[in-house]
Amino acid sequence: MTHPDDTPAEIVVKRFLYVNRKAPHGTIYALEELEMVLIAAMFEQDVHLAFLDDGVFQIKKNQKPAELALKDFSKTYGALEDYGVEKIYVEKESIEERGLTPDDFIIPTTVLRRDDMSALMESMDVVLTA
């Protein structure tokens, strides 16, 4: 007979990638994907966030959603670090195409060239997109 304290269940740690490709506010996907990531952070998993294509607009500074009575969730990205989500990547080509630089973002990010973004995606166990 096994002793539960001595033989803890094996913890599966998977590499999760949350892909953000859509602009905020025009649709709800950015907001609800962020809500999903905050929950996901509570599990002992290897969480990665990628912002590419129009998704890079999600973390643009100075968003003022209150001007149209919209929910202000852009500040919540700043809480990701407190939740232990620190692997946050933006794609260099996506931000350049949109005239942005990393200084435009409300959170610190790791800038990846497109090839490295490809490699990151390829290394994942679970990829969730909205």
Binding site: K22, A23, P24, H25, G26, T27, D53, D54, F57, K60, K61, N62, Q63, K64, P65, E67, L68, L70, S74, E96, E97, R98, G99
Partner: protein
């Protein structure tokens, strides 16, 4: 005619579809995610920049503000309007066509 375009030019072809058909002199209002088409210095800026002489371009200013953008970043020839200005455009231009 007032044409309404509300999709990002990086993601969808709606703005090009509108430009392919809008008669010169028409008004085109960029709203919702289409405000990204009004920005200077992007890979899609030429879409609007190449058409400002043919059309009266407007961008919905509150839709810029909620996205962290403002009128100083907008291409020359694109006029920011608020919702009151949007309403006035529907009166001046008679028929409204939404490019959904």
């Amino acid at each position: 005619m007032l044409h309404l375009v509300n999709k990002s030019p990086f993601e969808r072809t709606n703005l090009q579809a509108c430009l392919n058909r809008a008669v010169p002199g028409s008004a085109i209002l960029l709203m919702e995610d289409a405000v990204y088409a009004s920005l200077r210095g992007t890979s899609q800026s030429d879409l609007v920049a190449g058409a400002v002489n043919a059309y009266d371009f407007f961008v919905l200013a509150p839709d810029l503000a909620i996205r962290g953008l403002d009128a100083s970043q907008v291409l020359q020839g694109v006029e920011p309007v608020d919702y009151g200005g949007f309403v006035d455009l529907t009166i001046d231009r008679q028929t409204v066509q939404s490019w959904l």
